[in-house]
């Protein structure tokens, strides 16, 4: 049976993902979000081996990846698509070897029943911090997304804001991994924002719709997964993809 607090946790993850996703989609970072979630896998494997909370291991290794990206960007070395592809799929491969077979499906595709009080509380606190920070720096994130050069001229520390943004993204993926899974968490970041963008008139609406759609697909996905005894990741993502399709139709008509 689905517990209330499991639903609450799912919704917190959805809200964090939906706010950040609006900027991820606009900055054409959809694949980065996806790849970043794959990087979490070896970290989770190591955490499982050492017997501590897997998503902390996942976050630690994603934070390292984010710092790496930050350093390379600061030195004006552009991370090529190919490099991202190679490094991040390599991380996935290593992770697949490290994570014990028994837990593999849950780690890859999520597991609502795996949410317990301890990791649930950690998720709630992490999610609250992410949402609060995102709202606090919303003008800066909007400006560096819209036109970085203009933001810089206003005194927005663009490089630092980029790093903060990537950290928040890593944090969001980390808190969502338990419920949605490593392979599909990236999609929860992208789908609500991409759908909202199709139907919203301005940025404010995009953010609000994105949060609404994110919550809806997590709720529907959780209930469907629970009813059919499936891992929740696939049902959440398929629901999201369906809503994205509907949003495309709505845009066509208007």
């Amino acid at each position: 049976m689905l517990q209330l607090w499991q639903i609450i946790i799912g919704i917190v993850v959805a809200i964090a993902a939906a706010f950040l996703g609006t900027f991820v989609v606009s900055r054409r970072m959809s694949l980065v979000a996806d790849a970043l979630s794959h990087v979490a896998l070896p970290g989770m494997g190591i955490a499982l081996m050492l017997g501590f909370e897997p998503f902390l291991g996942g976050f630690a290794i994603m934070a390292l990846a984010v710092l790496g990206i930050g350093v390379l960007e600061a030195r004006r070395m552009v991370l090529a698509d190919t490099l991202i592809g190679v490094l991040f799929t390599a991380a996935l491969a290593v992770g697949l070897l490290i994570v014990p077979d028994l837990e593999l499906i849950e780690v890859l595709f999520g597991d609502i029943t795996g949410i317990n009080l301890a990791n649930g509380l950690l998720t709630l606190v992490g999610g609250a911090v992410i949402v609060f920070t995102t709202l606090r720096y919303l003008p800066q994130f909007a400006k560096i997304t819209f036109a970085p050069e203009l933001a810089a001229s206003e005194g927005v520390p663009v490089a630092r804001m980029n790093l903060l943004f990537l950290f928040l993204l890593a944090g969001t993926v980390a808190i969502g991994i338990k419920a949605i899974g490593v392979l599909l968490m990236g999609a929860l970041v992208i789908l609500p924002a991409a759908s909202a963008r199709n139907i919203a008139r301005d940025l404010r609406e995009t953010l609000i719709f994105s949060v609404g759609i994110g919550c809806a697909i997590v709720l529907i996905g959780f209930f469907v997964a629970n009813a059919f005894r499936m891992p929740p990741g696939p049902s959440v993502v398929i629901t999201g993809a369906l809503i994205f399709g509907i949003s495309l139709l709505v845009r066509r008509r208007s």
Binding site: S153, R197, R201
Partner: protein
């Protein structure tokens, strides 16, 4: 929120060598009646060099900008004009001295705005993002009024509900000018676009800026590709080609030889004439100075 860039290096007066021609650095540049006192130095740049990736893109540039004046920076593509602006605004590391003689806020109209046309930001929201976050989420009358007021200055109030990605080049430029002056800056940096805006639109932009400069008591630095504009609107001109080739009142320093040196042999000779004179065939020729080749 947005913090005004402040002049960080107000260096100690006594450190500087005595300099005969230097004007007194006026910290209180405005008189008691609020009128601009002309002749007070706002910006002093001395031996400024900028290196980007190990290459010296600006070499030993020295000039002064007076408060309330209008300065044009001219030079061929890649001559370091935008880099100079970035250094002055504290956005690029530099060697040498940049001294702002009072706390200044910058407004910046970039030459080319690299932005995502699909980003769902509206003109209204762009301006609201500079205010309290409550204004972005809830709107409110005072916020709406401030936005309307800013855009009315550039005759663009009708653009408020539009998405920025749908604006034409000229409309976008007006919005960006309004945006640059929204926080009441002291100094306006205007980097003129090389392409994309029709001549009529361009003329409007300059008369608009001249008008705004007067009304809002702005000190204006602009990068221009149009020598007509330079002659018609500015008090002083800085010619850049990595190094500073000339500096002074446009009528004095923009000689045909100087322009030849600045833009290279690809330029027609500039016929020295006052831009306010009625435009004849000659004026036509000099408008196109950058595109034509004429041998001597």
């Amino acid at each position: 929120m947005s913090t005004p860039l402040e002049a960080k290096n107000r260096s100690d007066e006594t450190e500087k060598p005595a300099h005969g021609t230097r004007l007194t650095a006026g910290v209180s540049a405005r008189g008691s009646d609020g009128q601009l006192l002309t002749g007070s130095t706002l910006l002093e740049v001395k031996n400024l060099s900028v290196f980007l990736g190990g290459v010296e893109v600006l070499h030993d540039v020295t000039f002064i900008v007076e408060e309330g004046s209008m300065t044009a920076v001219i030079g061929p593509n890649g001559s370091g004009k935008t880099t100079l602006f970035r250094a002055l605004m504290g956005m690029a590391p530099y060697a040498g001295e940049i001294v702002w003689h009072k706390k200044v806020r910058f407004g910046y109209v970039p030459q080319r705005l690299d932005f995502d046309r699909l980003f769902p930001l509206t003109v209204r929201e762009l301006f609201l993002l500079r205010r309290r976050s409550g204004d972005f989420w809830l709107g409110g009358r005072s916020a709406a009024e401030a936005v309307r007021n800013a855009l009315s200055h550039v005759h663009a109030a009708h653009l408020i509900p539009r998405r920025i990605g749908t604006l034409s080049g000229g409309e976008l430029q007006r919005v960006l000018i309004a945006y640059a002056i929204f926080e009441r800056p002291d100094v306006l940096f205007f980097d003129e676009p090389t392409t994309g805006i029709d001549v009529a639109g361009e003329a409007t932009a300059y008369s608009l800026i001249k008008h705004l400069a007067k009304e809002l008591r702005l000190t204006v630095l602009l990068i221009s590709h149009d020598l007509n504009v330079v002659f018609q609107y500015v008090d002083q001109v800085i010619c850049l080609n990595r190094a500073m080739l000339c500096y002074g009142a446009p009528q004095k320093v923009l000689t045909p030889t100087q322009l030849q040196e600045l833009y290279g042999a690809e330029t027609v000779f500039y016929h020295h004439r006052h831009a306010a004179e009625p435009a004849g065939e000659e004026a036509h020729a000099h408008e196109k100075h950058e595109h034509e080749t004429r041998n001597t």
